[in-house]
Symmetry: C2
Subunit: 248 residues, 2 copies
DNA sequence: CGCTCTCTTGAGCCACGTCAAAGGGTGTGG
DNA sequence: CCACACCCTTTGACGTGGCTCAAGAGAGCG
């Protein structure tokens, strides 16, 4: 019960809002703050004073190299937390991509509350787990995927967030700019633009204004993303050659 | 006390071996297993049955894309744990880079023990924290750094692991092959080789056989790594423009 | 001593970055 | 309500860092 699978957050969503203890519950009575588009919540290196819960809008978390190169390590959506850095200083900067609403709780209090309610601990672990898994997938993307695979992977992520695979064509919202996407995918703005144009030309996607995209061929998109054979429905169990030593 | 800074593991090292409860203590009486060079501990997707503590040797943890591209997401050294995946299946594969010695504990028992001894929880959090921080640094490296910066960063990591900055020239051990390094840095084996040759030509490093390297100019190496201005000793506090909105 | 595997080095190419300019949206002020 | 202005995005032409292909040099091992 303590380290449990966290792939789906069903236990958070399905539970009655204020009764079953949840991490979100800790923020319930705190004031709702507004953050302007582009405004910073905190900077990398700042003392980690608060934990934030996003209620509405999207955040970007990023690091900057000394010469200005920026890497967006993730986007934060409503229902997610930021600032559980576990260190005494924030590991990254956080800004609002669009006007956002959020609640903040002092870090010490957050820690106390989690200690007080043992049910919250597995949830916290689960969040960290998801974050770690996402970070590893991102490392794979950045280390070895082509521009097209990166963009396809990104679109697929957006698709998975909206409705667990609804009817096509599904439209996904993309509040961030091309520059944000580029800095998230380790590409340039031009390459992102060109790649999307190419996908649109091939009928895989269709632009719906600047910040929305219709996915027309999800299966093809999954194949283009390259992490799997595109044949993801087949159980992945039998494919493994257990006990074999990898040809090294 | 619960979410504490984990940058240094002093509390683990300084503590008397078996008295102060430590995560390593959980493995103390378990048999020491031997893993051949290149042998796998487990594969990505396997049911996550055990947690491993490395006693000697080095492991590589990695993911593989369907067409064979490999990404090494990290190397595991003595004193570190593997398999705390928090999911019911391993997120990555793990192999021994060189013949290794380790202990294993059933995952359920590991969880029980950690639950029983509350002192262990902060340690576990701290490990995850370090892992997350390392993952983010790696994302920065993979997304935006040049080949030279990547190799310099890698060498610097090795340097930081050995003796917290001893006398130069310090020699760092590199048990992994060039292919491992390449798959860790998102480069090819040829580029790694060329870059190291160039660094050696410039007198920054000097090869000591195939699996050891002497660092001759650590400060220059730090500058070449590119994450900071090379002026890392200066306090980082004053440089920040707090409350300013990033030019977006 | 010869075999094999790793690493180095070279030559050429290509995906993506860079530089530049021309479209659209969107918001603001008249 | 229109028009200007700014910014984001797209598109094009060109350059280049790192990849690919290929061959040779060490190093470890039986």
């Amino acid at each position: 019960m303590y380290l449990e699978s966290a792939t789906r957050q069903a236990d958070l969503r399905d539970a009655p809002p204020a009764q079953a203890p949840s991490l979100e519950g800790l923020f319930g009575r705190l004031p709702l703050e507004t953050v302007d588009s582009g405004a910073a919540l905190f900077w990398e290196g700042d003392p980690a004073t608060h934990v934030f819960a996003v209620v509405e809008g999207v955040l970007r978390i990023f690091k900057i190299l000394s010469d200005g190169r920026r890497v967006i390590t993730g986007f934060i959506y409503p229902g997610e937390l930021v600032g559980i850095s576990l260190k005494d200083r924030y590991l990254y900067s956080a800004e609002a991509v669009v006007p956002a609403r959020l609640r903040r709780i002092a870090r010490g209090r957050f820690q106390d509350e989690v200690n007080r309610a043992p049910d919250l601990r597995p949830q916290l672990f689960a969040r960290l787990c998801d974050e770690m898994a996402a970070a590893q997938d991102q490392m794979v993307l950045l280390a070895r995927k082509s521009a097209e695979e990166r963009v396809a992977s990104f679109l697929l992520l957006g698709l998975r967030r909206r409705t667990g695979g609804a009817v096509l064509p599904a439209t996904i919202e993309m509040p961030m700019t091309r520059l944000d996407i580029a800095d998230y995918l380790g590409l340039t703005i031009e390459t992102v633009s060109r790649t999307m144009t190419k996908l649109a030309t091939r009928g895989v996607i269709a632009a719906k204004g600047r910040h929305a995209i219709a996915i027309r061929k999800a299966a093809l998109l999954a194949r283009l993303a390259g992490d799997d054979d595109g044949d993801e429905d087949a159980a992945m169990e039998p494919a493994y050659t257990r006990a074999a030593v990898w040809p090294h």
